[in-house]
């Protein structure tokens, strides 16, 4: 139970960073922390006490394995997170070149 609470505290730190900071790079860092916390929560749900990794070995019968289904879902989620981070960094570089600053309260022109 305490592991779930610590994982949610990590999520809340990322959420505070996204809500309260004015620099775009800090917002990107907050998004990254939120994504780590969500992946960690998925893998924590599928853990089995004294379990083994979900890979078969030669001449051995493995009776208790951890749950392999959340691990398969998180594997694609990690690579998708990288693609989204790259896209948002490209948009931030373009914004800096046009406005000259990373401050989001000064980027307020809708057109052009």
């Amino acid at each position: 139970m305490s592991e779930y609470i610590l994982c949610l505290v990590l999520f809340c730190i990322g959420l505070y960073c996204v809500l309260r900071k004015r620099n775009i790079i800090k917002i990107i860092i907050g998004l990254g922390i939120i994504e780590y916390a969500v992946n960690l929560f998925f893998v924590l749900i599928g853990y089995r006490t004294h379990g083994r990794a979900p890979i078969l070995a030669k001449d051995q019968q493995i009776l208790n394995m951890v749950d392999p289904l959340p691990q398969a879902l998180v594997l694609t989620s990690i690579v998708i997170g990288l693609a989204v981070t790259a896209l948002i960094v490209a948009i931030a570089i373009r914004l800096y070149e046009k406005y000259g600053t990373f401050d989001i309260t000064k980027i307020n022109r809708l057109k052009g």
């Binding site: 890979i55 594997l75 694609t76 690579v79 990288l82 790259a86 490209a90 570089i93 070149e97």
Partner: protein
């Protein structure tokens, strides 16, 4: 230690010459053994992309773009995606999507076993590796339209 061309210092260049081929070999090993030991297409593809990025960071953009130009990266990525889609659509022969059309699955722990899984791993590694290298080349070589500072 003067660098006579672009890139980093002499120490970094020497170490890069020795290790970049080994990193590429390690990435290919992780892709091919994806159905026996942990790893698979995604991790192996990212390691292959990292070896080319290492080459670009140490030697400058010209040397790395001679090895793998931006057009070649786009073509390789589309090739990987089309190969994956073709393997998926060939399952219509048996009536399902992703049908495993190999008749016998081979012995476990062999390199050529497990049906379509090694072919899918190779297609995904091509796609992920070439795509991430194209993203990196576009972001680093971005010069802007000259309105900075």
């Amino acid at each position: 230690m003067k660098n006579n061309k672009t890139g980093m210092t002499l120490i970094v260049k020497t170490i890069t010459r020795l290790t970049v081929g080994l990193i590429l070999l390690y990435g290919i090993y992780i892709v091919l053994h994806g159905h026996i030991s942990p790893g698979g297409g995604f991790a192996g593809g990212v390691i292959i992309a990292l070896s080319f990025i290492h080459l670009m960071l140490a030697f400058g953009r010209e040397t790395a773009l001679k090895k793998l130009s931006q057009t070649a990266a786009s073509v390789l990525e589309s090739l990987g995606a089309l190969m994956f889609l073709a393997i998926a659509l060939l399952g219509f022969l048996g009536g399902y999507l992703f049908f495993n059309f190999f008749l016998h699955k081979g012995k476990p722990f062999d390199l050529f076993s497990a049906g379509i899984i090694p072919l899918c791993n190779i297609a995904i590694s091509l796609k992920v590796g070439a795509g991430l290298f194209a993203i990196f080349a576009a972001l680093i070589l971005f010069k802007g339209s000259g309105k900075e500072e």
